[in-house]
Subunit: 341 residues, 2 copies
Amino acid sequence: MTPQNQLPSWNDSAARTAILDFIARITKKGGSEFVPPAERIATFDNDGTLWCEQPLPVQLYFAIDRVKALAPQHPDWKTTEPFASLLKGDLKTALAGGERALLELAVATHAGMTTAEFEQIVKDWIATAKHPKTDKLFTEMIYQPMFELLAYLRANGFKTYIVSGGGIEFMRPWAEQTYGIQPEQVVGSSIKTKFEMRDGKPVLVRLPELNFNDDKGGKPVAINQHIGRRPIAAFGNSDGDREMLEYTQGGSGARFMLLVLHDDAVREYAYGPAKGLPDVKLGAFTQALYDQTKKDGWTVVSMKNDWNRIFAFEEEKETVRQKVAPVTVQTEVEPVGLAVK
Amino acid sequence: MTPQNQLPSWNDSAARTAILDFIARITKKGGSEFVPPAERIATFDNDGTLWCEQPLPVQLYFAIDRVKALAPQHPDWKTTEPFASLLKGDLKTALAGGERALLELAVATHAGMTTAEFEQIVKDWIATAKHPKTDKLFTEMIYQPMFELLAYLRANGFKTYIVSGGGIEFMRPWAEQTYGIQPEQVVGSSIKTKFEMRDGKPVLVRLPELNFNDDKGGKPVAINQHIGRRPIAAFGNSDGDREMLEYTQGGSGARFMLLVLHDDAVREYAYGPAKGLPDVKLGAFTQALYDQTKKDGWTVVSMKNDWNRIFAFEEEKETVRQKVAPVTVQTEVEPVGLAVK
């Protein structure tokens, strides 16, 4: 494949050029910046970097659905926060408790079962759960340009890892099918587990206790723990990814750091640092982070300007349209997505 | 390569046959026990399974050497245990404090520096540190039959992992060169680390606090955390590996569990469960474990009877002998190793 055919959902922008240039340099045999395949490690944040995290992170929808499913067995939840508000549909009050409320929610919905049971719960949920605005499966809410980038890196000898603040056991059941990323290359937050014999069978039981918070400074720690090598490329979209990109840049030789800027209110959501954009707390890309990208030479991708397609289903929609009116060939893709309700 | 050429350091024993049979079954396309390559995960204990752990585990020699090297900067160690006894050469008294003494020793010698600095310390040490009896480099004290087994499994599509009670950052600097096992496939015990900027550079600092003890029930927990798949084959040599083998056996389909029995006092050490053998506390293979191998159908390898060579340098010695007296061809290999001082 020639570079011209690579990353088709990326416009011919500075960001795309920077990626292709980096790959060319580190794969050039005999070149001064050549990196042996074993050291070609790329780490990707998940929420907001590989898939949509708005209006809420996907795992939060999972937790809410689990609370609803488990409520009959927990009559006390009717009067206990954050469950009571959640069951009434009042998410704002439910999450007013901040991180503590989120942790209580996580523990109530993610612990108590074996790892195998939890895997099945996630698989069943992800097979049907849909985005509230697009009505697409959450696994269809992945960014097509990033999907192409994952494949392009792997085609160039990279091992691609997810390094996410999301739950490691929440991501593994679908990451391989969705992104081509195997369980052993998924790194995330976790609760503690315990080995025990249950009905004569060896199982791991998920305990109601945080094990590791894979965010901010935790990301380099987890990268070292799981991979034992410093990445040469890292991709994120928020303040929670800053340390991962700094750590990646801190190694010797060629390095590539990229942040996805959510500035497309029509096809996705706009919650970047530019003036006049809504202030979204979860997954924020702050002005300070934006300034750091300039200072440190990190690449910023504008979803609005640098990507000609955000979701794969945009194309499907066009195809459907062509089927309906085969004579009138559409030459321009009408903006579709989250603004289309 | 035909099965006849495989595992040349293994005698034609039941253990070798069991290994070859297992591999044949899980790799047979269309067979009822076929396992896709992505699921071919094999986990290996390190101390006593892949390399010699007698008379003391290698990492303990490392810690002792570090205490000696650091002693001038710690005058208080002259009167503080376990350091005082260690510096006097009285290992027995130094280790009388049990796990607490070991942890103090580990923290004093393994924490306080960056991960990159520690890696260099280990690399420098392992390049010259030698076994007290054989005077061979510790990296030469690896079991040739297990080395062949690692290569054989990888040739059959397996990912081979170390899952050891030893320190993850102690093993990674030499595991790839010694065993062909990459850093991301090394799992072990760890202390906590912290991301920080030091002199403007992003580093991970090793903290004086235990993060994870990768032994007994911790092994399945770490396997799940790092790999996210249940192994289909597991290899160990002691009570600390029992849960890893149980967990491996607990999955569906073909499974293979093996324990190395140290019953060769001439070529290595004898510290198995057989009557009259010395009672070695570290890395013990207890009678209860031996009984469990029978009950659960695990394979036990007798180093004495099932391996025609234990260390690669045994052959070297023979080669040297042939060079000295080229006319008198040796037809039988004289037992060499730890009994030969």
